[in-house]
């Protein structure tokens, strides 16, 4: 929750600025990716991280390990074999009834045991509700640095992890290091990195961790899990086409033009942070660094000026069409196609054009 101070303001005083890594951390090697397994399925962000972890491990000349925690049964074994297909060299596995369903206590305990035993230099987690809940607890237990919602991960010449993320409410980017503590931890939002190619037939050693925590030792109980209704789910992060609106729409009523175009395109709809803050759209429809990161084939941004925090959330799109009345809006610096006009007038025209072109049958039905 802290905003970062100016860089290097007080070089010598900062704990992280000492030159040499303390002796007891020198044994920390290898890159770990936490594989988020919930109710039998792995969150795709884990494989996106596996792809990125692969690059880091190769640069460092170390191994890439998958960390898979879960209940006893098939799901853990399946997740391990998937982890190999997505690039892991080895896997650390803990299967226990107390790990069936995420709980902070059991997962934090198990993760810190694994880190203390096997000593990774880098530990990456998805910035999901699970990953963020876990990462904060693990980093505090280990008293190490954690960079939230990284949008870029690199290894420096001296082998340290450089994690880049937006700062100051998304108006600038900063690069953060954990120089003198291990592991160097970072979380990354879903879809910030693309999914790596699967490679069939890869395998590797699986190290089973005997996790001895008992149910009676855990205070927090899961009483129930209520799955979201399919219809209420937004699939923004993984949609092929996304249409979004910003304050340039002028009013909450005008947002309907975004919904209409999205409907014609079979697309997901969303908006910039100010629309959520004004209550025009629900929070899970927010696009940008602090909302959903998207990588669609086509992204249409209507009346969005394009602040940095929005930009980093949409830059993975193959094609960005920006509509804005201000020809100097920052969005035209990173969009591929631009139209300097009033989105409120153009959106219905776009909906009409696309409807006629791609779904003549629907069009006919509607005409009748």
């Amino acid at each position: 929750m802290t905003s970062k101070p100016a860089p290097q303001a007080a070089g010598g005083g900062r704990a992280g600025m000492r030159k040499e890594l303390p002796e007891h951390f020198k044994a920390y090697k290898h890159v770990w990716v936490f594989v988020e397994l919930e109710r039998g399925a792995v969150h795709p962000v884990s494989w996106e991280l596996m792809g990125e972890g692969r690059k880091l491990a190769d640069k460092l000349g170390v191994q890439l390990a998958a960390i898979v925690l879960g209940g006893p049964g098939e799901a853990v074994r399946m997740a391990v074999s998937e982890a190999f297909a997505y690039g892991a060299d080895l896997a650390y596995v803990a299967a226990s009834p107390v790990l069936d369903g995420y709980r902070n206590e059991s997962y934090t305990r198990c993760m810190t045991e694994l880190v203390d035993t096997y000593k990774p230099e880098i530990l990456l987690l998805g910035a999901t509700t699970l990953g963020r809940d876990l990462a904060g607890s693990v980093a505090t237990t280990l008293l190490t640095g954690l960079t939230a919602d990284s949008t870029g991960l690199e290894v420096d010449a001296d082998g340290s992890l450089a994690a880049t993320r937006p700062t100051f409410g998304g108006s600038l980017l900063c690069t953060i290091y954990t120089l003198n503590f291990r592991p160097q931890m970072a979380t990354v939002r879903p879809r910030v990195f693309s999914l790596p190619e699967r490679q069939e037939g890869r395998g590797g050693p699986v190290i089973e961790h005997n996790f001895s925590l008992l149910e009676d030792d855990i205070v927090t109980k899961i009483l129930q899990f209520i799955p979201d209704r399919e219809s209420s789910k937004s699939n923004l992060a993984y949609a092929d086409v996304v249409v979004a609106g910003g304050l340039g729409l002028g009013s909450a009523e005008n947002y309907q033009h975004v919904r209409e175009l999205a409907n014609v395109l079979g697309a997901e709809w969303g908006g910039s942070r100010p629309l959520v803050q004004r209550g025009w759209i629900p929070a899970d429809r927010q696009i940008g660094q602090t909302g959903k990161t998207i990588r669609p084939k086509l992204y249409i941004a209507a009346g969005i000026s394009g602040a940095i925090q929005h930009r980093v959330g949409v830059e993975g799109a193959d094609l960005i069409l920006a509509i804005n009345t201000d020809k100097n809006a920052p969005i035209f610096d990173f969009a591929h196609l631009g139209i300097v006009t009033d989105a409120v007038r153009l959106l219905p025209a776009l909906a009409k054009a696309f409807r006629q072109r791609i779904s003549p049958s629907t069009h006919t039905r509607m005409a009748m």
Partner: protein, 283 residues
């Protein structure tokens, strides 16, 4: 019942401007607000107090001017406000911040009665890390409940609580024991307006102001820059793409014609998209 609500004074991000040449934040004239996510935490605490009685202490760490935010929180109905302010906290990252706040919460417990629940917002709008809440929970050994959408049940006699927690793909209903730490999800309630009387009292109220020493923080090596394992090495603005957006020609055209040429340009650049869209819609 004693609840502590952690709040943070933040710049109103909608009005932050970056100097185009030096890439520094231009703070002059940027108004400050209570981190909007924290208001959901405060209102959730007020609701629990409506039902169960007790006191609410709001806590913030920041410069002396953060007192404004505390007064505002008092005007919504909090009972007591504590400002933790000391130059040694400057430059704290999330680990150092959670240390300072957890020590202050310990001291609040000693001074004003044992704490049952600590509330925080989901994250702040300036740091956006969501790490300080879990950090406080771990340091104080509080049961951690993040992304809470609703408190279902609170039984003070039994010392137990049940909440709905937003998880990936659904809602977890969790039960645990007090004391606990709750980070409250946004959009789950609406902060009340305090009465005129409460607002007048807030303006006059004494703000409990603690330096590190007064909060009983002995180990200053865990605070501020010294206590922060992370280092910010570089702050920068992203480079613009080498080429600016290709502008669709508008000359003298109406919306329909512009839409047609925009669509043509889209399908020219994404040749497979047209077929995919047609299939999706007909399939």
């Amino acid at each position: 019942m004693h609840i502590v609500v952690c709040i943070k004074q933040v710049p109103d991000s909608a009005q932050i401007r970056v100097h185009p040449v030096t890439n520094t934040i231009m703070r002059q004239g940027v108004p400050t607000i209570i981190n909007p996510y924290d208001l959901f935490a405060l209102e959730a605490a007020l609701k629990l107090r409506d039902l169960h009685g007790g006191k609410i202490t709001v806590l913030t760490m920041g410069p002396p001017m953060a007192e404004e935010s505390l007064r505002r929180a008092l005007s919504f109905g909090a009972d007591r406000a504590v400002l933790l302010t000391d130059r040694i906290f400057a430059g704290s990252d999330t680990l150092a911040t959670s240390y300072a706040l957890s020590e202050a919460i310990r001291k609040i417990g000693e001074s004003f009665g044992p704490v049952d629940i600590v509330f925080t917002g989901k994250q702040t709008i300036d740091g956006d890390t969501a790490q300080v809440g879990p950090g406080i929970a771990k340091r104080l050994d509080l049961h951690q409940l993040t992304y809470v959408a609703a408190v279902q049940e609170l039984d003070l006699k039994a010392g137990s609580i049940a909440v709905e927690r937003r998880a990936e793909g659904g809602v977890q209903v969790l039960s645990t024991k007090l004391p606990c730490l709750i980070t409250m999800l946004e959009g789950t309630n609406e902060i009340r307006r305090g009465s005129i009387e409460v607002a007048l009292n807030a303006a006059r109220a004494e703000i409990v102001t603690w330096s590190a020493a007064a909060a009983g923080i002995g180990n200053t090596a865990k605070c501020g820059l010294k206590g922060s394992p992370t280092v910010v090495k570089r702050v920068f603005a992203p480079k613009p793409r080498s080429e600016k957006a290709f502008q669709i020609d508008l000359s003298g055209l109406g919306p329909d014609a512009i839409a047609e040429s925009a669509m043509a340009e889209i399908f020219k650049r994404l040749p497979s998209l047209e077929k995919e869209l047609t299939q999706t819609l007909q399939g």
